[in-house]
Structures are given as C-alpha cells and as structure tokens.
C-alpha cells in the first residue's frame, strides 16, 4: 500500500544523510524477480540465490564453486556409488528453533522427492531409492543405480534442508515460507522487493556480519548502474558487458569479472545434411573468429572455449587451445565435403539482445566462407515447441542452434549428459544437435557409476577429446561473470554459474 506519510520520513532521512549501509543493511539489485524460495522448486539463478540466504544443504559451494561440506561433516561412498553415508554437524538449529538432525534431513528430502508434491526439481532427487537414519547425526542414502556425481548434486541448492516444522505447517506454500539453517530469515516480500534479516540462531560464530539484505528487481540495465552510482544499491548483478566500462577504474566501485561456467556454442544437427559430415563441422569451427566474437558481443570479457566444457567446471580438460581461426582452411574443407560454393542454413537462438548480436556476428563470419545463414531469434515458447515438440530425432527441424549452458551442479556430468549424449536427446533433455558417439555415451555412463574422483576425471577427459574430434558444436566462448559493488562492501560474490553468495557480506570501514 502507498504510504503518503512517508514523504516526511524520507525528507528527514535525506536531511540527516544517513547512508543505508551504516546499519549494516545491504541492498542488491538484480535484473529479474525472485519467483519462489523453496529450493526444490526453483530453476532460475536469482530465486536460487535468494533461497541460499535462508537455506543450506549438506554440502555447499564457495565463490569459485569448489565443493565443501556445509551441514555435513564428512561422508563415505561405496565403490560403485550407490550408498552414501553422510555424517552431520551437531548442535545446529533451524531459524525457527527446530533442531537440525538426521530425521530433519530425511523429512525434508522425502517431502521434496514425493511426486505428489509436484516440485520442479524432482529429477535431481530421482536417483534416490531410500533414506535411512542409523543415528541422530548420520544419514544413509541408497540410490537406485550408481550415480557418481551424487555429492555434487547434494551441493545443488535443491537439496537444501527445510525445517520439518515449516514443512508440516506450510506444505505447498513453502515457496513463500521457506525456513532453513541459513544465515538469514525471510522478513518481508512485496512485489519487487524481498528482505531477509539476520538469523539469531545461526551456527557459524560471528556470521552473518550484516543485519539485513534487500533484493530488488530492477530490469533495466542502465537503472541498475544508476542505483549503484546514486547509493541506492551496494551490489548489482548482472552488469552488461557493454556498460561495464562506465564502472571500471572507478574510485567508488569495484567491477568484478571472472570466468563463468557458461559455455556458448552452436550445435549443428548432425543427423541432417550437410552437418552429418565432420569436414563441414570442422569448417564451421575454422570459419569463426572467436577473439572477434568476444570483442564484439562480450566487450572482451570472456575466454575462448578450448574444450566442450568451460575451464571452471569440475572435470574439464583442455584440448590444447581454442579452435584456430582459418577461413581459407574452412573453404578448403567445405570444398572437400562437396560444398565448394557453400550452402544455406538457418540459425536459431533465443531473443535476448546479446544472443541476437552473437547470431548476427556468426552470420557474417559464416557468410565469409560461403555459408549463407538466416538468423531466426525465437521467443521462449516458440523455441520450446520447436525443440521439445520433436518426438523422433529424424523429424527435428533444427539446423544450427546458438545456445548457452551452465551446469548448476558444477560438475561435468550436468553438461555432457544433457547436451552431448544420447541420454540428452529432446524431448528428454537439451542435446539440440542430436550428437551421440558410443564412446562418449559410455564415458558419461562410466562416470555416473563411480564416486571415485580420479576415475570420473579420466572418463570425462576421454569424452572431451572425442567430442573435440567429432566437432558437433562450433565451440565458441565462455563469457565472464560481471558484477559490481561499492568499495567498502565485501563478501558478496557471484559464483561461476551465476548464483550469488551472501554469507560473508560485510562492510569495511
């Protein structure tokens, strides 16, 4: 409701010039709206970030997405990755005072994976067969079949542990009433503004260091930057690469850019002519100048892909440098493949402005070697129907597809399996080019069947080498994460997957 009494208060506040941060309150501006807080029902980065202020899982990530135990102390897995025994930290309570223990973990996981509750992250819970609680601080999870990356999955916010009391009380309304063990608790949530306040029961001594966080939805890029400049926000994300310069080398702000785990690629439909010929796929890789792409679309903030996986993802292995830019060689390969005059094709992508920019750039690059590209940006719903409306791979109309992916588990499995294995063919998952190589499929499956990190790394190394050889994608770039905050704020960071961590937020003098 509108407060007409506020003007006076606002006047007084401006007269006293009390900056918002004096009391340890942080305002953060994001481009989207928070849609919910029940971690097992979320699939967008902002909602997951908001949920992370309240909710915590057995395992977590640091700002570089390195996995570490959080509510767990340690774990053991059997050799074929079907039974995981997890030892919990003791003496923790939820923010509503309910004790955190093995029973609470079981109650939460069983609720989130119950198909009757229709939650959106069911598939992450799908590998679980049963959950047992041998004692108060031990949880034993048995899987239906071997699943090597299970601990990485547990670090996904979907496995955050909800207070059993909240589950009993709110059930289906947990999205608006999440209660966890996290550093903050939900205070208020009105349209575009969500506020969380310090959890007095928080278990890590000395944390959190600020009293509250306010998350605001500010869709316009320019306005977000203005908020930072006007002192209305202390942290903004994302900063679009085209506007980053205005914040760089500034005495009042830190512009932070670091590698993401986004992979930008063009998937080629390998079931269709001419993309069924590996020479054509190689030619297209040679035809694109990735340095120029980085400059034109991402203002230089990013790295060239030198494998199907971006370098920040667990399981990544370099293929010895990015694909060289060599248009002459591209033309030669096209001629060898029987297309001396090139061919015509269609490039699909979403309708975001950066995607359009990238697609037009690719059109120009491919045009230079004789491949005439028609660019077709698709509205989200149209895209879904074109990609997932396909029941048989041969019937897909896809030719070229410009995509971006970040594996929300931080593990190679969640990129290779949905994007580059037979298990990922639409409508099941997101392998829009229908690439499948028995060797890669076997590697992906092999890595699923063990929890041994070294063995898994070997499988993924082998898979990446094969994918690079088969060139089912035009391997493009991995753009940087760009965010900005005021100089005296620290401890709020964006992870390489685009989620924000706020646990260590603090103001320095």
């Amino acid at each position: 409701m509108l407060k007409w009494t506020l003007p006076l208060a606002a006047l007084l506040a401006t007269a006293g010039l009390a900056p918002a941060q004096a009391a340890g309150n942080v305002t953060m501006a994001f481009d989207n709206n928070v849609l919910g807080l029940n971690p097992a029902n979320l699939n967008d980065n902002l909602s997951m970030s908001a949920s992370r202020t309240i909710m915590q899982g057995l395992f977590g990530f640091d700002k570089d997405m390195k996995l570490h135990p959080l509510l767990a102390e340690s774990y053991e897995a059997n050799d074929n990755a079907t039974v995981f025994t997890i030892h919990l930290r003791k003496g923790i309570t939820f923010s509503d005072g309910t004790p955190f223990n093995a029973a609470a973990v079981k109650t939460s996981f069983d609720f989130m994976r119950d198909p009757a509750n229709h939650l959106k992250r069911l598939s992450l819970y799908a590998p679980i067969d049963k959950i047992e609680t041998p004692d108060d601080s031990t949880v034993k999870i048995t899987l239906k079949q071997p699943f090597g990356p299970f601990i990485a999955n547990l670090a996904h916010i979907a496995f955050a542990v909800m207070s059993p009391k909240a589950i009993a009380e709110y059930g289906k309304d947990l999205d608006r009433h999440a209660v966890g063990t996290g550093p903050f608790m939900l205070d208020s949530w009105q349209t575009d503004t969500l506020k969380v306040v310090k959890n007095p029961h928080y278990w890590q001594p000395g944390l959190p260091k600020v009293d509250s966080l306010t998350i605001k939805s500010v869709p316009e890029d320019g306005t977000r930057i203005s908020m930072l400049q006007a002192g209305e926000a202390q942290f903004i994300f994302p900063v679009p690469p085209g506007m980053a310069q205005s914040l760089e080398h500034n005495a009042k702000f830190d512009l932070i850019h670091k590698p993401s785990i986004y992979a930008r690629y063009v998937a080629m439909n390998v079931l269709k002519k001419p993309f069924d010929d590996v020479r054509v796929r190689e030619a297209l890789n040679y035809a694109v100048n990735k340095d120029a792409l980085l400059k034109v679309v991402f203002n230089g903030y990013g790295q060239k892909l030198d494998s199907a996986l971006p370098s920040g993802l667990a399981g990544y292995s370099s293929q010895g440098g990015a694909w060289p830019y060599d248009p002459a060689k591209a033309k030669k390969l096209l001629a060898e493949a029987g297309y001396p005059n090139g061919f015509s094709t269609v490039l699909w992508g979403n309708s975001a402005s950066l995607t359009r920019k990238a697609m037009v750039f690719l059109q120009q690059q491919l045009g230079a070697v004789g491949v005439k590209v028609e660019v077709e940006p698709l509205e989200a719903g149209v895209m879904i129907s074109r990609i997932y409306g396909v029941q048989k791979p041969e019937e897909a109309q896809t030719q070229l597809y410009y995509g971006g992916w970040s594996a929300s588990t931080g593990d190679a499995d969640w990129e290779l399996r949905p994007l580059l294995s037979k298990m990922g063919f639409p409508p099941t998952l997101y392998n829009t080019g229908y690439y499948s190589n028995p060797k890669v499929d076997a590697d992906v499956q092999g890595a699923l069947e063990t929890a041994d990190a070294a063995k898994r790394a070997a499988f993924y190394k082998d898979a990446q080498a094969q994918i690079w050889k088969d060139a089912p994608w035009i391997f493009l770039v991995s753009e940087n994460i760009l965010y900005a905050r005021v100089k005296n704020l620290s401890g709020i960071d964006v992870m390489p997957d685009g989620q924000t961590l706020t646990l260590d937020a603090a103001f320095t003098k």
């Binding site: 208060a9 349209t191 306005t223 006007a230 719903g381 149209v382």
Partner: protein
Amino acid sequence: MLTYLLKRLASTIPVLVAVSIFVFGFVHALPGDPARLVAGPDAGPQDIAAVRAEMGLDLPLWEQYGLWLNNAVHLRFGKSIRTQEPVSTVVAQRFMPTLWLTLVSLAWSMTAGIALGVLSGVRRGKWEDQASMVAAISGVSMPSFWLGLLLISLFSVRLGWFPTGGYDSWRSFVMPAFVLGLGVAAVMARFTRSAFIEVSAEDYVRTARMKGAPERRVIWHHTLRNALIPVITLTGLQFGFLLGGSIVVETVFAWPGLGRLLVDSVSLRDYPVIQAEIMLFSTEFVLINLVVDLLYAAVNPEIRLR
C-alpha cells in the same frame, strides 16, 4: 437514469464472457508447452509431468475453461504458476502502484494538456501557439526509455533529488509520472486545441461575444465546455490504456506495475495470471466507457441518457 445504469451494467456481462473465451483460446493457442517453460531447460521428464499436473494442463481444454469460469464467477482465480502466489494477490499488489501512477500522470498531463490547448486555441497562429505545439510534438515523439534514463542520470545520480525508481514515497512518483504523462499531455493539448478552434467558430460563441459577455466567460464557459466532449472521450481512452501499465516506464523505473507483470506472465505462459489481468483490463475499459458516457451528460446537459 438508474434503469440506464443497470441496463449498461448488465450488458457488460456477455462482453466479458466473450472476452474470457477469446482470451482463453488465444492463450492456449500460444506455441510452446507451458509446463516445459516453467520447468526450465534442464528439467527432466518427471519435472515436466509434475508441473503439468500442478497446472491442471492434463485436463481437456473445455474442462479447463469450465473450471476456470466456475472459479472466476466465485472470484477465485487460482495460483500463479510462476510464483505460486494466489493470482488475486499477485494482481492486487501490482494494481495499486499502477492505479496511483495512472492517476498522478493523468492529473498533471490533463491539466497541462488542456491549459496548453486552450492557450494555443486562443492565441492561434501567435508564438504561444507555435511554442506549445512544438512542445506537444516533442512530447509525443520523445522515446520514454531514453528520457527516463536521462532523467535518472540527472536527478538521481548527479543531483540526488529523486530515487532511481521503486514505489516508496512521493519522490519516487515524480520521474515516472512525468515520463508517462508527457505523451498524454501532448496528445491532450493537440486535441483541446483543435476542438477549441472548431467550437470558437460556432454561432453561439459569436452570439455570446456580441451580447457582450466578458472574454474570459466566452473562453471558459461557452467555448471550452463544449470543446471538452472529445477531450473527455480521449481522457477515458488514455485512462484505460494507462491502467494497463506501461512496460517501458515500469522497466526503466523498476515500478512494480501491471505492464511488466503481463509481459513476464506471457513469457512464462502463466495462464491464470494472463487471464486474470486481461479480464481486469476489459472490465476497466467497460466501466470507463460507462463513466465517460455519464460525464457527457454532466458536461453537456443537451445529452440525455436513455
């Protein structure tokens, strides 16, 4: 009068039902599986099935409509698929900011627009007229996102007078209401001017002057009052459009209004919210039309309602 009112109100029911069928059909004809959209790109088949069941999309279309209509009649609009909140809450929370912004924008732009229009009409061909019309054309042609960002960088970043956006105090109204009302004021000025000039040529205006009525009375009573009829129609239309929310102004000033809600809902195929919002807009338009008709009678006693 009362019979007229009741008759008009009753006649809105079939209009609204027709709109609801049209909107329902249209929304469901949009390409793309909403369950898939809501579940997100990395969702598995189980997730999508869960969402589909949650949304009630596994029922036949006519059954979905029947359910919706029955609920709507009882003022139950279900839950938003996007945020899980009751649709009535989602829409109500954003209705008030939109309504207030509309009222404030319309109030200043009507006052300014009519005043400028009258000034131009009275001083036709003089510099006041030309200056006003240049201002009006600039007002219409100024892209509002550009003007909005310009104002923010001047008044928020440099001077610190007004917040960049949000919906908090009277200060947060100044810039969005100015930008939103600018186009309306411009159209209003042009409309008033031409209506004023047209009416000035009428016999009764000449008669009023001849019988020695003071010029002020001729302008405000005889001319403007009659010139107001098309202006009222225009105001009604503008009011209806503004109540639909403005995606550009709401985006630039982070205003929690209905325009952005509709765009966000369409892009995620949030059927219940889209439906409720369009029904709200239709109802608003029907009611505004009714009020406009009543106002005609108030302004011009020669118009009788039957």
